[in-house]
Amino acid sequence: MFKEDRISELLRELVKIVGVANVMTDEAELTAYSYDAGQSMAQPEAVIIFNNVNEIAPVVKILSKAKIPFIPRMAGTNLTGGVIPLKGGVILNMSRLNKIIYIDTKERVALVEAGVINGDLQRALKPLGYFYAPDPASADFSTIGGNIAENAGGPCHLQYGSAADNTVKLEVITPNGEINIWAYNDNGPDLTGLISQSEGTLGIITKAWVKITPFPKYVCTVSAAFATIENAINASDQILNTGIKIRALEAMDKIALEVSLKKSFFLFPHTMKAMLLIELDGNNKEVLDKDLESIRNICSINSCLVCETAETEEERLRLWSIRNGILPALSQMAPNIVIEEGYVPRTVLPIAVKSIREILKKYRLTAGLLIHAGTGAIHPHIVFDKRNSQDVRRVKIARNEITKVYLSMNGSSTGTYGIGVDKRVSLNWMYSTDEINFLYKIKGAFDHFNLANPDKILPVNDDTKLFEEVNRKHERSVLQPQAHTLIAEMRYRYEHKIKSIIVCSGTYLQAPQETMEMKYLNTSILNTPPVLNKKNLTVKVSAGTNTEELRQALNKEGMDLAIPKMDGTVGGVIAAKYSPEIMRILLGIEIVTPSGEYLNFSVPTLKSATGFNICNLYCGSYGAYGVILSTILQVCNSNGNNDLHINQKTKLDDFVPNKYHILLKQAIDPNNLLNPWIYDSYLKTK
């Protein structure tokens, strides 16, 4: 009932580590850390500012001992309230940790501290001829640590992936104050990916080894105006299906264009209702020119009104200024602006846009829509007046309804903005109670006392009404009979505490002999034919499908998988993390936990940041965390140049689980029922 002062007792200890000037509890400081770019607010109890990376771990240790929540914060530019201290506690301000430690162009890696501004790294890389691929709109003022924690991305995401895809290794301080270094190609479950979009709820990223990419020699941009949004989206679908490597593919709707172009709007045909910005890059001018030609053809087939090509830097910037001018122009239309985000499968983009427009009309709101047509993201920029209670209310209701639109179209409520506080309720609408409980288990394994950025990402209130609605509509949980049998079997074994050896084709996992205690559980029965969605460039595959057979089937359709050649089943390749490249194309996963719960974490969108990154967690799980039922994989157009090679093969024999692998195992499979021999000795010694 009363606010208790938890900090003053610790003040002396904290001051000893960081110095007297760096622990702040005055009102101005606390107030200034009570907000971020999202819509929430709450005051911390203290703010600690670090001048050295080494100071963080001891401070975290003290705080976790005293059970005081702590929230890492750098630029504080995230849009969903990810750094709001909902339970009070201490803000760990790491924005002074902004050293670029080294840039290694040979290994194509840069080591940076978490507080390095994305734009500063880009400027440092530019003279060397490299760039850091994640390019969120906030690149000039957001930090790399924040980008990774939110798994941010921008227009270049389409070709180069998001922040998590460009992370090689992370130094993470876990909530108990331990320093860990995890790499994405480590043996065993991928913790780098798990930390990457956890918004500081599983640990604090202090240093990151990030991938750097050489600048392409040529970059060309095409803008194409269309009379309807459907035409624009059709054109973009066809462009992506050609297999041409697209750097960025953006779409804008009429209102966005009107506000951005202002007086120069009349320069375009008056029937223009949508515009596409298509950007290509490459080192071969001839290939690029050919690709440009075919893109222009596709645009004209889809009755494009005007098509402009920019080849010089100036022209390019002029075309991009149309898109980049939307936010500033909208900001000046009304006192406040809120940027909403969601992902839908690309194929339903026109319907989603239409529904969103209807909602906006219903609530009499003005908004410009900015669409990443390549990835299926829609960003309504809604303008309103925050001081008008009616406005605020309308915006809130409209935002929720828009989120429901995304979800009802089998999309995801967020992708690059994170979940934070503002969007956590939408997890209820996406996931069943079992799935949310599973996410809670993961959080509990890392952070038993709920101290690291508490109450973020995971919903605190139960609101599952929509979940049932949405799922009934889309029959998300329709399973093949074999899967039902498997789940029933696993439930039986869970109840009778029978240990299982998960085997599939037996390519990767050399299981011990079947004994009285351990029984085989064969997953190769999961072999329903794959479902290819050619327009959306995804394929849903059962775990028992052979990888090469799948590839052959895809090749017949003119598609391919962007992974090296691998033997064995899809489930086996993923569970063994035979090659870390598989994580790049893994979009969704359906699993059965050791206790026989069916969990569906599959969204057929290019990016979905809802909850923790479960897909990566099951890469390298060796069947010890559960059974993979099916996956959604990204496919690409086969143009015969699959020259990918496996850089590194992992072997189960080399796998030594670290503390957090074991903690996760204990949380997910407390009785050690699945593939028990892997963790057996470690669990016992513990």
């Binding site: 005055d26 009102e27 101005a28 400081e29 107030t31 200034a32 850390y33 907000y35 971020d36 770019a37 819509q39 929430s40 607010m41 709450a42 500012i49 630029a75 504080g76 530019t77 309230g81 909902l86 301000n93 924005s95 002074r96 902004n98 507080g115 501004i117 734009g119 400027r123 906030s138 000039d140 003022f141 957001s142 936010l327 500033p328 900001s331 000046q332 006192p335 406040n336 602006i337 809120v338 925050k386 001081r387 008008n388 209670s389 605020v392 209310r393 809130k396 506080v421 503002d422």
Partner: protein, 473 residues
């Protein structure tokens, strides 16, 4: 009766609040009805907006942070434009009860206006901050400063004499005595500058005295321009004034010295707002007298801080209708030297830039770029002269760390800010830095002489004159 009315409206507010579906998410939504008494108007970029409206436009996106000198020096949120906006908003909403909480946050603002340029909603944080300081922390400058200001206002000649006595002390090697007399503390050059030897060789003849004969209004019938001698040009860098008037004469024909008073910025920046208004009034009166005599002309200042301040004169008189109109007419004829010349109207020169290899860069004066939005014109001209020699430095629009707009900024923040500027100048291996503000130029020069003596900073007028002399047909 009145109480009852208040009760009723309070009830309505409570009702409205209940209507909102309250969760942790939206506890911060405030209601406009609450703060009717905070209708203080600020005047910015020809737009009137109440203080509260301006502050609450902030969407907290954080785009202003990295370019803010005080934030990037401290990396602390209260020292960022976003932080200041939020704190001010909460203060106006009575959620922060004690205004002193904000003091440090407000006094660290350099008022450079970089955030204004960056902000999508164009929130005039500098104007908001100075208005709040005016409202909540009324302070008067110290005795010496106050006396100096009064002398400057009422007895400019006496002030010149006083200054000359000080300069004499410096010349004869007794700068400490000059410091005691302290007259130059209001020129935007306080003890910090003194330490940095800006006044090593102070001029014993001021610009107005040098140019008086040449540009007096005695025998002239019509003029095209009036030269406004800024304090820093007049009393510290008369050479710049000489260059500017030479340029003006050559390009625009006849003109005179304005015989003006200080623009008032020096009074405003040390907190004496009433005095600033007095200065402004005197200048406006002087302008009107000249206008009656000569008709139309432009007022040219070679100090961008002064020019930007004079262009904002209207803001000083927002509650005085008569003066406001007069101020607006005055402001309309003010021109910054940086916006005056373009490639087309400048004298044609021959093969410039080809003769020597050097790197020239342009430092934007805060007053020019953030208040007057002068960006392209000087760059185009320098680029035209220098060809490949011109190179844009990183963060060229960022403040260099002089404090013409706020004299109370902590030294530490200025130090980090100017260090960054020198780093950026050095990063492109520049030989010459051109800028349109005298204080800015002096600050950069004194820092350069310490850390990167290879380069020098010169005023835009000086640069243009030297170009003209060198490459004239």
């Amino acid at each position: 009766m009145n109480d009852k009315k208040n009760d009723k409206s309070a009830l309505e507010i409570v009702k409205a609040r209940r209507e909102l579906d309250y969760s942790a998410d939206d506890s911060q939504f405030a209601f406009k009805e609450y703060f009717e008494n905070n209708d203080k108007v600020i005047f910015t970029e020809n737009k009137e907006i109440t203080l509260y409206d301006a502050a609450s436009q902030c969407n907290r996106c954080g785009e202003c942070q990295e370019i803010c000198p005080s934030y990037s020096a401290s990396k602390r949120e209260p020292f960022s434009p976003r932080g200041r906006n939020q704190l001010i908003r909460l203060l106006l909403e009575n959620k922060i009860k004690n205004a002193n909480v904000l003091k440090e946050s407000l006094y660290t603002c350099l008022s450079c206006g970089a955030c204004k340029t960056q902000c999508h909603s164009r929130i005039p944080v500098d104007a908001i901050v100075s208005e709040v300081i005016k409202l909540y922390f009324p302070h008067k400058p110290g005795f010496i400063k106050k006396t100096a200001l009064k002398t400057l206002l009422n007895f400019p000649l006496l002030y010149s004499l006083w200054l000359k006595v000080c300069y004499l002390f410096i010349w004869i090697g007794m700068p400490s005595l000059a410091k005691v007399l302290g007259v130059y503390s209001i020129l935007g050059i306080n003890t910090l500058y003194e330490k940095e030897n800006i006044l090593k060789k102070p001029p014993m003849l001021f610009a107005t005295e040098i140019l008086k004969k040449q540009f007096s209004d005695a025998h002239k019938r019509s003029i095209r321009w009036v030269y406004f001698a800024a304090c820093s040009t007049n009393y510290i860098q008369p050479k710049v004034a000489k260059d500017t008037t030479t340029l003006l004469k050559r390009h625009f024909g006849e003109g005179i010295l304005a015989d003006n008073f200080c623009c008032g910025l020096s009074a405003q920046s040390c907190g004496d707002y009433a005095q600033a208004i007095q200065f402004a009034k005197k200048n406006i009166e002087r302008y009107e007298a000249l206008k009656q005599k000569f008709g139309r002309f432009i007022i040219v200042s070679d100090c961008s801080s002064c020019a930007s301040f004079m262009k904002k004169y209207e803001a000083l008189f927002y509650d005085d209708e008569e003066w406001r109109e007069r101020a607006s007419a005055f402001a309309a004829s003010v021109k910054d030297i940086a916006e005056l010349f373009t490639v087309d109207n400048f004298i044609k020169l021959q093969d410039c830039g080809s003769k020597e290899k050097r790197t020239v860069t342009y430092q934007d004066a805060c007053g020019a770029v953030h208040d007057q939005h002068i960006f392209e014109a000087p760059r185009n001209l320098i680029n035209h002269f220098e060809k490949d020699n011109f190179k844009e430095m990183p963060y060229s629009t960022a403040c260099a760390g002089c404090f013409t707009f706020n004299q109370d900024v902590p030294e530490k923040i200025l130090k980090i800010t100017s260090d960054k500027k020198i780093k950026n100048i050095a990063s492109i291996q520049s030989d010459l830095v051109v800028t349109s503000d005298v204080c800015c130029m002096m600050k950069i020069n004194s820092e350069l002489s310490k850390y990167y003596p290879h380069a020098t900073a010169i005023h835009y007028s000086t640069y243009l004159t030297s170009m003209e002399n060198k490459y004239k047909k």
